[in-house]
């Protein structure tokens, strides 16, 4: 009886702690993203979920600092380099570029495919149209 009750209370304690500690998982995602990444950007217009028009494809470097600031650089030119803010919440990363790339602002799904990370945003969703932005990240 005593063991059974101690088990119940231990379980209750662990559940209480676990329910308060979802933040820990988000910290792990933030920690994983923190640092310098090379990116390949694909910016498409979608129709019925399929890419029908390529809007932009380019590459560069994105640095996620641990104070939630961001540096964004393009390989092709440094004239458009900018800074921003980022934060992981609810398994998404919110990215805000201070200048130039306002159409990339938003909350990106963090996708893990074949061990590689990518950030995916769909915006301007209509019944059949949408715009897709995907950052493929490599170290």
């Amino acid at each position: 009886m005593k063991k059974f009750l101690s088990g119940i209370f231990l379980l209750l304690s662990v559940l209480s702690f676990w329910s308060c500690d979802k933040k820990g998982k988000e910290n792990a995602l933030e920690k994983e993203l923190t640092g310098s990444w090379n990116y390949n950007l694909e910016h498409f217009r979608l129709f019925d979920g399929q890419p029908v028009e390529t809007m932009e494809i380019y590459s560069g470097t994105m640095i996620f600092h641990n104070d939630n600031t961001l540096e964004y650089k393009l390989d092709a030119s440094n004239a458009l380099d900018t800074k921003g803010t980022w934060k992981v919440v609810d398994k998404q990363v919110y990215i805000y570029f201070y200048r130039n790339f306002y159409y990339y602002n938003g909350s990106y799904d963090i996708v893990r495919e074949a061990g590689k990370l990518s950030l995916h945003l769909i915006y301007n969703k209509n019944d059949r149209d949408a715009i897709s932005v995907k950052f493929k990240l490599t170290k």
């Binding site: 005593k2 009750l5 231990l10 308060c20 934060k87 602002n105 938003g106 301007n124």
Partner: protein, 136 residues
């Protein structure tokens, strides 16, 4: 028997303390002032006649609510002034003479969601403006 009761009380107290600490963390969310938030605003337009539904591009900025009812917003620098009021589950933001009242939709430790809706184009469309506040 006495030892068992004592053990149960200690275990129960421990569980309640953990739950209480969780509640305190949740209550912190209600404190909107004093920290900088990342704000994301998006709009959804529902055309009633055509059952059309469109979600539009986001606007993002950083925002800080000060205790005296004023605030600052902007990008790398917070340089635009506004005033605000919080009444129960309604947040009123005033930029110049425009008062924007938002209703609280959800809250968690790191994120608040507020919405306001209004009719557009007569009664043919409803616009829902969603404001997400992410704690930095």
């Amino acid at each position: 028997m006495f030892k068992l009761k004592k053990y149960l009380w200690v275990s129960l107290l421990f569980s309640l303390l953990l739950l209480n600490s969780c509640e305190k963390k949740m209550d912190e969310v209600l404190t909107i002032d004093g920290v900088v938030w990342l704000a994301k605003m998006s709009t959804t337009v529902i055309e009633h006649e055509y059952s059309d539904h469109a979600e539009y591009r986001y606007t993002m900025y950083k925002i800080r609510f000060d205790k005296d009812g004023t605030g600052k917003t902007g990008g790398d620098e917070l340089n635009t002034d506004f005033t605000w009021k919080l009444k129960k589950d309604e947040l009123q933001l005033s930029f110049d003479d425009n008062v924007l009242p938002y209703k609280l939709v959800s809250k968690s430790k790191e994120k608040m969601v507020w919405e306001k809706s209004y009719k557009s184009n007569g009664d043919f469309a409803t616009v829902i403006a969603k404001l997400e506040l992410i704690r930095l």
